[in-house]
Subunit: 258 residues, 2 copies
């Protein structure tokens, strides 16, 4: 759905291939060099900043819908997306919140009264964490902008997306204790201080300088390399790397980082 | 929807008050005296054991839908229900899996071809934990049975409910580390050994006999009473109770039991 024509097709006929009143919204967290940010799109019709989202096709599962929607709406491919919560408060996106005249003016689209497109949706929330430096978000036709915001300086969001972001952050931070994280976000080799600082940014908490890395080592998640960072004769810290097998196993099985 | 008439009304007219193709399914865990069980209903139409579930009304949110559905389908009121995951694999409940002839024979209901009721649903999974002794599950008209099964001896379930139960258990066990649990499941006063054994049953894991209770104490979640269980002069263990304020705060704010 990258062109106006495809969007028009969706609203006029294509919506029959989609599940009625079900959407996916995606909280994409960006990390780089000690900073945590969030990707937002500014919708031309609602003129508010929102999470990128869209309808779910009947022939795709929710994971694939989230992957397709982040690719179409924000230009981001190959994200590792995880569900965090589904939102269905009555009134969360009442048809009145959508400015029909503006949609018509922008796209030539008029939504038929009988279509389920005039009804409210429930929305399945997904989150992902990506390296901001390798991600190049692009706005689609429906958005005027698409960019990163520092997690501490988010603008007010449309619909119930403020609540979605709070829930996404809560679940992402809970998952830090139960799934491995850091591959593709940290360099291939890193010091114990670097991985601790990474976890501190992600969790928003101070961590114990020795207990925390020791736990990662005792789980077998990270292993010591026979190599030190050269920063002077005495205090050169040793490099570590992730153990691929343990990491992949814990991604599917889970772990308890306690 | 406790009577046949109400069920007929739902399928013939009432469904317009419901969100198209969206359901809620509930994994109700029962705990008592060191045993973890799961509540299942045996559906008369599909003739398989399933989690109790149902459609979501347009005028209720997902939490209220889950509470209403567990009351209607299984007779359980006032459960504390939490979302764990939403399921939307194409084919998870294809119309072909529903035996239309049997539904007609049982209820006099014939579903119109144009109705969204012939389409697949996405289903929002909720879980709850209740004391089996105080819960008296009752089957509704659509079920031939409704009863507890030991978590280690579940029958094969209909649709994708085997996967739902695995995901519900995984999330419930992850939440053990992030939300308080035990009120209404443990007696008002309990020994450290009792609360540890309770957590061992819930988590399916052995826990350290001193580190684990010490962590609960240091979080302020449980407090020592000036009272001992009288089981002999020397080894009478001290009673503890939950701190109501810390418990309620942690229910809404979360905690990290690490």
């Amino acid at each position: 759905m990258e062109t106006l024509k495809e969007i028009q097709d969706f609203f006029h006929n294509g919506y029959v291939d989609y599940r009625p009143n079900l959407t996916v919204d995606c909280a994409i967290f960006g990390y780089h060099g000690g900073e945590l940010q969030l990707l937002l799109v500014k919708n031309k019709v609602f003129t508010k900043w929102c999470l990128p989202g869209g309808y779910v096709r009947k022939d795709e599962n929710l994971d694939r819908a989230a992957a397709r929607i982040t690719a179409e709406r924000a230009g981001l491919e190959n994200l590792f997306l995880k569900q965090f919560k589904t939102f269905g408060e009555p009134g969360r996106n009442s048809p009145r919140s959508v400015d029909g005249d503006k949609l018509l003016e922008l796209t030539g689209i008029r939504i038929s009264e009988e279509s389920w497109l005039t009804g409210e949706t429930a929305s399945v929330g997904f989150y992902s964490i990506t390296d901001m430096v390798n991600a190049n978000p692009k706005a689609d036709f429906l958005s005027s902008e698409c960019r990163w915001f520092s997690i501490d300086q988010l603008p007010p969001l449309g619909f119930d997306h403020d609540e979605m972001v709070r829930e996404a952050l809560f679940t992402m931070r809970m998952h830090l204790y139960h799934f491995p994280i850091g591959k593709n976000l940290l360099p291939a080799k890193f010091t114990l201080k670097e991985i601790r600082q990474f976890y501190e940014v992600m969790s928003g908490k101070q961590l114990n300088a020795s207990n925390f890395p020791n736990k990662l080592i005792s789980l077998g998640l990270i292993v010591k390399l026979d190599e030190k960072r050269n920063i002077g004769a005495h205090r050169s810290p040793t490099y570590y790397k992730f153990d691929d097998e343990v990491y992949e196993g814990a991604l599917s099985e889970g772990l308890v980082l306690v």
